[in-house]
Symmetry: C2
Subunit: 201 residues, 2 copies
């Protein structure tokens, strides 16, 4: 990985609130998220939440960080010394061929949060950073592959952006459409893309 984002440590109480927010989001979506709903999931009163967070906005920003941490923990990867395998590994983390329920849920929550980035600057900056890090991770692998002679002499940055956009698009479609086959087809096509665009001879 390129950056080890310093991970914030959550108090037990905060973590429980974040977990309750996560469940409330899954059940009611971002538009239906309220302090009452979070309190209900938490099994405590609304005032208990306001003891830990001054305002709903603060809680939301904290939760954004929480969800992002969780996502990046999922993607984190010890890079080996085979660029092709590393690339496959990252792609599988981002766009699993058969996502389990946990992965689907996290993606669903992230899509809800990310849509807020259209109008909210704080959210926008966070997702900008996420994409920046992912692009850098992919670019580094491609660069290493070129140096080692495994990959052709392509523009690493261009290829990284291409792969990232494709993976993001397929994940987006998976979360917002019923086209299950589409995501699978895209996954296959990325492998084929890496092969024909990057592999020597």
């Amino acid at each position: 990985m390129v950056t080890d984002a310093p991970e914030r440590d959550w108090s037990a109480a905060e973590e429980e609130i974040m977990e309750a927010t996560y469940r409330a989001l899954l059940e009611h979506g971002y538009a239906g998220l309220s302090i009452s709903r979070i309190a209900a999931e938490l099994g405590k009163s609304k005032a208990a939440i306001y003891y830990h967070y001054d305002a709903k906005d603060d809680l939301l920003v904290a939760f954004l960080e929480f969800a992002v941490d969780r996502f990046e923990a999922t993607v984190a990867t010890e890079t080996g010394d085979e660029p092709t395998a590393d690339l496959e590994h990252v792609v599988e983390k981002l766009l699993p061929l058969q996502p389990d329920e946990e992965q689907r849920q996290l993606q669903a929550v992230l899509v809800g949060l990310r849509s807020q980035a259209v109008t909210n600057g704080v959210f926008r900056e966070q997702f900008t950073r996420i994409d920046e890090r992912l692009a850098a991770t992919i670019r580094d692998i491609v660069e290493r592959g070129i140096e080692e002679g495994t990959f052709r002499d392509v523009d690493p940055s261009r290829v990284a952006e291409h792969i990232l956009a494709t993976v993001n698009g397929a994940m987006y479609a998976r979360a917002t459409t019923g086209r299950e086959g589409a995501a699978a087809a895209t996954r296959v096509s990325i492998a084929s893309y890496v092969d024909s665009e990057l592999r020597r001879d």
Copy 2:
């Protein structure tokens, strides 16, 4: 195009309400969308809106159709007889190199709506249909190119899904991050992909 979706005709009053909803969404986002806000944009009372729509949900479903119509009108394309040019044309419509303000706004509104597809079945079906049509449009162009001998003998469906996912991902990033360069780089990379994956030497 593959399907000429039968376009609904809106009464003048309905169209004004849809237009007001559009503006309200741009200003306050989906989470902040209320009948009061729409009424304010419309310059009429809330009751005037309830005369035309029984419930907020009905209005939302109508607006979804309205926004989708507008989007598909933007993408609609007279196909020429040059597959390569047709492909470029569709991609430019979906992911313009330099989107004007109107295009950006429509994309922003659509991202807001699409995130609702995670939890709302009606929205999900609409966006499934949109992606289905776009994939079919691209696939048809690729198939024609193969028959004509302009393109290599690839799997048209796989290539179509790849291009669609990439375009969607870049557009998504454009609407939700500050990474302007990323969208541009992806646009360029798609041209390069078409060239190396499809063009006969």
